[in-house]
Structure formats: structure tokens, C-alpha cells
């Protein structure tokens, strides 16, 4: 292994102890080694920047914020005592931007990125500009994103959420020009007068929360969820006030508008109607199910937003579009009834939400997008499937963000994961299967980088089937546990990989025994040179009957490595690896009561 390889392995975090010692010695004795490490560190940074893809458009240096208003303190720091210090660091931030934008005059910060979904991409690349990240400051200027959602905090205090694809010009912290897409603005007290302009329509806030959507047909939609806005066309003296819970569509060519009904009407509307007037309204309190006016219709919609405290049942067909469940701090739910069918290209969950299939079909990730459910910290999703189909057409990551949790229950029906299915990415995840079938075409990953509790898949009944693989505890994972209880489950997988020592296979053995895990190809308990990996945990169910004397735990074609740890609870036995028969067995089983 060359020094270059050793240095790279060190940066990868995969260096062995001898490699580490070699790198340490080279750094000490040979200044060129230090240069090589420095160059590799820089290269990784440059590659990440290059691929972050999320670049800020260089913004024609537009005139800086036209309107500067006295600022309220909602995003000022609470630490008045460290003001001088923060000012310095603040200046550092501002100056730093200058170093990477050598030809751009210092632009005033109009907004900062408060949150961005990981799939947000600036539409055009400008390699000299910084990657998009939480905390990035944006000067005035045009912004385009082609997917994902982006939350901006304007320096006026306005909270602006953008759903891609969208194109808009951040003219100042009080004025935004919307060319395409969907903006949702929460305007706090003190920032009244905030303007969104779309196709010559000026929407002036009068202290409110509202949305403006600019669909491809060029007719802007305005919906007010709180307070009121005043609308007028440019160069026209006619003004119209739109009050709370109202929605209007405007036609710039005729300069007319049509009301689209109040929010409660809208929730009672058939979704087919919503399809013609995206986006769906943000209903605050209604719990009315959507009427099943025309069950046989299949319609398309751009956006189905199920906002705070709204529960909707769907019993007819819907296709395409974006599903957003809930808002931070609130709860909401979507049930799909036996005749319902919903296909969403992009799904996002916030707040404490529930997605319930009692039949029908839900297809996630119809396009190239990954479905990252539960991104925002504090989000919780109950995903319950009693019957029907859940099909995932693309990579699904549950509990994608930190401090998020997903409880999934499969009681019946079929989950067909056609692409990788991750439970969970950074947050906590549990899956309890009491029936139905979970079919893995590609990989089912059980792991979490930041969960405090183990990620668990418990199977009491039903089927977990391949042809794909189950991977436990990839990376620096929390404990990842597959628990098989009794003999009701059927588990047949393509491969089973325990990717780190945090992977655990748990068998709860009762008087009838326990179902074996059958692996069509390979069971891999070996990783990066280690021949032992993970834990085999064997427990006896708490009843008095006799246990079988011998059990097959795993069936396989090939086996790599063995379990590093075997733990017994309430029984004793001998774990036998029989490669000839392709079995891992537990033999000489005896119940053992606590001494």
C-alpha cells in the first residue's frame, strides 16, 4: 500500500493501525507527506463543493435591498452580551463571500437559508459560488431550483418557503418576483407590506400568511390562510382584498379574477377539482373527509398539501404530484381506503403525521426523486398498512433527518420495495410486522447514524421476502436488529449482510420453535478483513412448555464469517455452523431459568 493509499484510507476512516502508524511517521519525518495530506483534504472539499450542485446563481448584481425597514428581533441573537463578538464573526462571514466572489461588489444579505431538503439543487451551476447549506446568506438576485424545498428567512423577518421547481427573483427582503413555482410566505408583525409579484399581479401583504403559485398556464393563484392581502395588477388602480381562507385565480390577460371557494369548501371538494386548481389549500381545522363524488375518476394534481390538524381519506384515484403531510408542531393524516389509489412523485412529512393504508394503493417516488420522509427534526410518522399495496418505485429513506422517528406497522397487504428502502437514515425507526408481505427487490437497509434507540424490524407473522438483500447496521450505525418471533413468519431473502458489529439477529423461540431465515445466496458476517461480525441473540418465550431440542436458525448457500457474539436469554444451546448442509443451527437446546 502506497503512502497515498494510506493517507486516503486515513481520510476515509478505514486505515488499519499499521497504516495509521505509517501515516503518523511520514507526517513527522517528511514534509511532502504533510503536503499530500493537505492536498487530499483540499481535493475532497473541492469535490464536495463541485458536486453539492447547489450553487447560488451569481445574481446579476441587482440593486441591493430597495426597502430596508426597521428590523424586528425575531432572528436576532439572544446573546446581547456577545454582540461585538458576533459582529466580528458576522463580518468574517460577509467578507468571506467576497473572497469567493472576487468580481462581485459586496451584496447585502437579503435572506438566509433556514432549511433545505437534501434534494434541492440550484438549477444552473456557478462553480465560483458556495454550496447551498443551512445558514448560507443570499444577496438580492434571481434564484432557480429545480426540485426540493427551501426555506428562506428574509432579513425583513418574512419566512418564505419555496417548492421546486421554482424560479423567482429576490429583489429585496420585502419584494419577490415569482416567475414559476410555489411560494408560501409567513409575514410577521412589522413586515406588513411585503410583496410577491407574479405575471404583473402584485400581492401586497396586510399582515398574514399566504401563498402564491405561478403555474405553467400563467394564471397566478393566491390563497390566504391567515389575515389578508391586497392584490392589484401593475399599472392598474383597481385593488382587491383577499381575506382569510379565500383563494383566487387571476388571469393577467383579461385582468380578472375568479374565486375558488373558501378553504373549508375546498376540503370538501373532490380532489378532482383540486387537480384543476393546484395547489390544494392549507386547511387548518377541517376534518371533513373528501367527498367521493366521482370514484372512478383518475386525475392528476401538482400538489396535495395536508396541513395542520387535517385528516383526509382518499377513496378514488389520484396520480402524480407532491404529497406533503403536516407542518412542524402539528399533526395530520392521510388514509387510503380500499378504492383509493395515490401516486406521488415526491412525499414529505412534517409534524406528527399518520399515513394509513386500509386498502387501495400508494405508490411513492414515481420519478427519479428519492423519497426522504421525515426530514425536519421533531417529525414523527406512523406508517400503518392494514391492507392494500405500498409500492416504492425509487429510493425511500424513512426518518431521513436527525431526531425524527418512524413507526411502521405492516398488518396486512403488500409492501413492494422496488428500489433501496432505508429504515432509517439519521433518525429512529421501528417496523413491526404482524401480517402481510414485505417484498424487497433491491436492498432493505436497517441502520441509523444518529438514533438513540436500536433500529428494529420485528416480525411476528407474515412474509419478508427477496429477491433482494437485507443489510443491517451499515456505517457508524446504532444497533440494527432483526427480530424473528416464533414460527409464524416466513423469511426468504436473497442475501443477508451484517455490515458492522452493531447488527443483531434476534430469535424468540417458543414451544413450536422459531422460523429460520432462508438466504438464497449468501450470508455475510464478515467485513473488511474481520471474520466475525454482529450478534446472535437467542431468547426463550416466557411460557412453560418444552422447547424443541434442535432448530435451524439460518439456511444459506454461502456463508462468510460468523457471529462475533452469541447471547442467550432463558435458554442454552450450542450454535453450529454446518456449511455442508448450509445451515446455522442451535443444538442441545435447554430451557434455563434464572438462577
Amino acid at each position: 500500500m502506497t503512502l497515498d493509499d494510506q493517507i486516503q484510507a486515513y481520510l476515509d476512516g478505514t486505515a488499519t493501525e499499521p497504516d495509521m502508524q505509517a501515516v503518523a511517521a511520514a507526517l513527522r519525518d517528511d514534509p511532502t507527506a504533510a503536503h499530500l495530506l493537505a492536498r487530499h483534504t483540499l481535493l475532497r472539499e473541492l469535490l464536495e463543493d463541485e458536486y453539492a450542485g447547489d450553487y447560488l446563481l451569481p445574481a446579476e448584481p441587482l440593486p441591493a435591498a430597495a426597502t430596508h425597514r426597521p428590523i424586528r428581533s425575531n432572528w436576532l441573537p439572544q446573546f446581547a452580551g456577545t454582540v461585538a463578538l458576533l459582529l466580528l464573526i458576522g463580518l468574517a462571514g460577509a467578507f468571506w463571500r467576497l473572497t469567493i466572489l472576487p468580481n462581485t461588489p459586496p451584496a447585502a444579505t437579503v435572506a438566509i437559508v433556514a432549511a433545505a431538503s437534501p434534494d434541492v439543487r440550484w438549477q444552473e451551476l456557478a462553480p465560483d459560488l458556495p454550496a447551498l447549506a443551512r445558514g448560507t446568506s443570499l444577496p438580492a438576485g434571481p434564484v432557480k431550483i429545480h426540485k426540493g424545498s427551501l426555506s428562506l428567512l428574509l432579513s425583513s423577518g418574512v419566512d418564505l418557503t419555496v417548492e421546486g421547481p421554482a424560479e423567482f427573483d429576490l429583489q429585496s427582503d420585502m419584494q419577490v418576483l415569482l416567475a414559476a413555482g410555489h411560494l408560501h410566505a409567513v409575514v410577521p408583525e412589522g413586515a406588513e407590506g411585503f410583496v410577491i409579484e407574479a405575471a404583473g399581479l402584485r400581492v401586497v401583504d396586510l399582515g398574514t400568511e399566504f401563498e402564491v403559485t405561478m403555474p405553467a398556464d400563467g394564471r397566478p393563484l393566491v390563497a390566504v390562510s391567515r389575515g389578508a392581502v391586497e392584490t392589484s395588477f401593475v399599472n392598474s388602480a383597481t385593488r382587491m382584498r383577499i381575506g382569510e381562507a379565500e383563494r383566487h385565480r387571476f388571469d393577467p390577460t383579461t385582468r380578472t379574477s375568479e374565486p375558488l371557494g373558501t378553504l373549508s369548501d375546498a376540503v370538501a371538494m373532490n380532489l378532482a377539482t383540486l387537480a384543476q386548481s393546484p395547489p390544494a389549500p392549507r386547511a387548518k381545522t377541517s376534518r371533513n373527509p373528501i367527498d367521493n363524488a366521482n370514484p372512478s375518476t383518475t386525475t392528476e394534481f401538482e400538489s396535495l398539501v395536508i396541513a395542520a390538524d387535517t385528516f383526509i381519506s382518499l377513496d378514488h384515484s389520484q396520480n402524480k404530484g407532491r404529497l406533503q403531510l403536516g407542518e412542524p408542531g402539528d399533526s395530520s393524516g392521510l388514509s387510503i381506503l380500499p378504492d383509493g389509489s395515490l401516486t406521488v412523485e415526491h412525499a414529505q412529512v412534517a409534524g406528527h403525521s399518520r399515513l394509513h393504508l386500509t386498502g387501495g394503493m400508494l405508490t411513492l417516488g414515481d420519478s427519479q426523486e428519492q423519497a426522504n420522509l421525515c426530514l425536519t427534526p421533531g417529525t414523527h410518522l406512523d406508517l400503518v398498512i392494514d391492507s392494500g399495496y405500498l409500492i416504492t418505485e425509487n429510493v425511500v429513506r424513512l426518518a431521513t433527518g436527525r431526531e425524527t422517528t418512524v413507526d411502521m406497522q405492516l398488518n396486512g397487504g403488500l409492501v413492494e420495495a422496488r428500489r433501496p428502502f432505508v429504515l432509517s437514515e439519521l433518525g429512529g425507526g421501528r417496523l413491526l410486522q404482524t401480517g402481510g408481505q414485505f417484498q424487497v427487490a433491491s436492498n432493505l437497509f436497517l441502520h441509523s447514524l444518529h438514533a438513540k434507540q436500536p433500529v428494529r424490524y420485528t416480525i411476528r407473522a407474515g412474509r419478508l421476502t427477496g429477491p433482494g438483500s437485507l443489510r443491517l447496521a451499515d456505517g457508524q450505525s446504532a444497533d440494527a436488529v432483526l427480530r424473528v418471533e416464533g414460527t409464524k413468519p416466513t423469511i426468504e431473502l436473497g442475501r443477508l449482510i451484517i455490515a458492522s458489529d452493531r447488527g443483531v439477529l434476534e430469535f424468540l423461540i417458543d414451544t413450536t420453535g422459531v422460523s429460520p431465515i432462508t438466504v438464497d445466496q449468501e450470508i455475510n458476517l464478515s467485513n473488511q478483513g474481520s471474520r466475525q461480525q454482529g450478534t446472535l441473540r437467542l431468547s426463550a418465550a416466557a411460557d412453560d412448555g418444552p422447547l424443541p431440542i434442535q432448530l435451524v436458525l439460518l439456511r444459506y448457500r454461502n456463508r462468510l464469517g460468523r457471529f462475533a457474539h452469541v447471547e442467550f436469554d432463558g435458554l442454552r444451546g450450542e450454535v453450529v455452523y454446518d456449511d455442508e448442509a448450509g445451515e446455522v443451527r442451535l443444538e442441545n437446546i435447554k430451557r434455563q431459568l434464572d438462577d
Binding site: D4, A9, L11, G13, T14, A24, L27, R28, P31, H35, L37, A38, R39, H40, T41, L42, L43, R44, E45, L46, L47, E48, D49, E50, Y51, A52, H68, R69, I71, L76, P77, A84, L85, L88, I89, G90, L91, A92, G93, A94, W96, R97, T99, A108, T109, I112, P118, P127, P130, A131, A133, R134, T136, S137, S155, L375, P420, N443, G475, A499
Partner: protein
């Protein structure tokens, strides 16, 4: 300059969940005063702040990279960089102007990292002080050509063959870990690491060639 930033916001230090290295995670947005408002005059203090700010602006990237060479967790890298920024401001009065500011800031960073190692316990004394000195010098020097290297990288990426480019696209663009990639491609994780090592080695060589061609004209 009559407009002086007056308000600032403390940003959470958290970088995105994507785990991508955030280059601006510790920059603070600055808002100008309302037009027509004058800043409070405090000339000496202000002059000092400006001096410190300008110097830190120059130093923070090599400082972050130096820390990154020594600490794997991105979040810890950001936290440590932030700690260095705070110390730089605190101790700016003690900074000896005959020395390079970046070297001074790197010295602070070195202490922060050693402190961090001893708190972490396991990485204690991973590299000895001479090694850290060498690494500080290397990052200070490298920073001078960092922007040229960024430019060179774009050209060098264009010269990669399709398979290598696609691997980088998946690894960096789609944030797929080596283990995930191994699974997708049906080869071992180790083989993925080896391929990535080779690609990066070639990119470095290409960048060096590009830079050395540029030098005579400068």
C-alpha cells in the same frame, strides 16, 4: 463607508443533513442599517474589528481544512472552526503583527484539536507536534493556490472516463457510501475504496500539472 453592519444573527452551527461539507456554516448574515441611519462611532474598536475580520476571512479556510485533516466528523470540524473563530476574536489584541495571521490562527486550531483529542480519549496523540507543524505549514501554503486548484479540478473532471465519472457522481452527487456503492455494483467495499483512491490520485496529478503549466505566466 457610512453603512456598517449593525445587526447579525447567530446561525445554528448545524450543517445540512446531507452531511455535505458546508463552507459557510459559520458565516453570519449581516444586514445593513436602515438607509439614513448612522452607525455608532467607535473608531478604534471598529478599526480593530475590521482588521481582525479581514484577517480571519483569509485564514478560516486553511484553518477549517487543517482541522478537517485531523478530525473526521464534519460536525466536529465545524464546531472546532467556530471555536477557533471565537478565540481569534478574543485574543486578537495579543496577535503579534510581525507574524502571519494564518499561522497564528492555525496555532490556535492546533491547540483546539489537541484539546479535542484528549477529550475524545481514543485519538489521543494520534500525530505528534512535529507532524502537526508540518501539516500547518502545508495548509498555509496550499491555500494560496486553492482557487486555482478549484478551477483546475473542473477541467480535470472533464477528462475522466465515463465509469470513473459515474462513480464520483454516485459517491459525491448522490451521497452513496462506499458500502452502498459496493452493493449496487456488486463488488466489495474495498474495491470501491481502491477505485476512488485511484481516481482521486489521478485528479490530484492532473491538478498539479494544470497548476504548474499556469505558473510561468503568473
Amino acid at each position: 463607508m457610512s453603512q456598517v453592519p449593525a445587526n447579525r444573527s447567530h446561525m445554528p452551527k448545524e450543517s445540512g443533513a446531507s452531511g455535505k461539507h458546508s463552507v459557510v456554516a459559520d458565516s453570519f448574515p449581516v444586514r445593513p442599517l436602515p438607509a439614513g441611519t448612522r452607525a455608532m462611532p467607535a473608531p478604534d474598536h471598529l478599526r480593530l474589528m475590521r482588521e481582525c475580520t479581514a484577517a480571519w476571512t483569509e485564514a478560516q479556510q486553511p484553518v477549517r481544512r487543517f482541522i478537517r485533516s485531523l478530525v473526521r466528523d464534519h460536525q466536529h470540524v465545524e464546531d472546532l472552526t467556530q471555536e477557533v473563530a471565537v478565540t481569534v476574536v478574543d485574543k486578537f489584541a495579543e496577535y503579534d503583527r510581525s507574524r502571519s495571521f494564518t499561522a497564528w490562527a492555525l496555532g490556535i486550531a492546533r491547540n483546539k484539536v489537541m484539546n479535542y483529542w484528549s477529550k475524545q480519549g481514543r485519538d489521543r496523540h494520534r500525530f505528534d507536534p512535529v507532524a502537526l507543524d508540518n501539516l500547518m505549514a502545508a495548509h498555509e501554503e496550499l491555500h494560496r493556490s486553492a482557487e486555482d486548484r478549484r478551477e483546475a479540478l473542473t477541467g480535470c473532471l472533464g477528462k475522466l472516463d465515463a465509469a470513473d465519472r459515474s462513480l464520483l457522481d454516485q459517491h459525491y452527487g448522490e451521497s452513496m457510501s462506499a458500502a452502498t456503492l459496493a452493493d449496487f455494483l456488486g463488488i466489495t467495499t474495498n474495491a470501491i475504496y481502491i477505485r476512488l483512491h485511484r481516481i482521486r490520485r489521478n485528479l490530484l496529478a492532473c491538478i498539479e500539472r494544470t497548476i504548474s503549466r499556469q505558473e510561468p505566466t503568473r
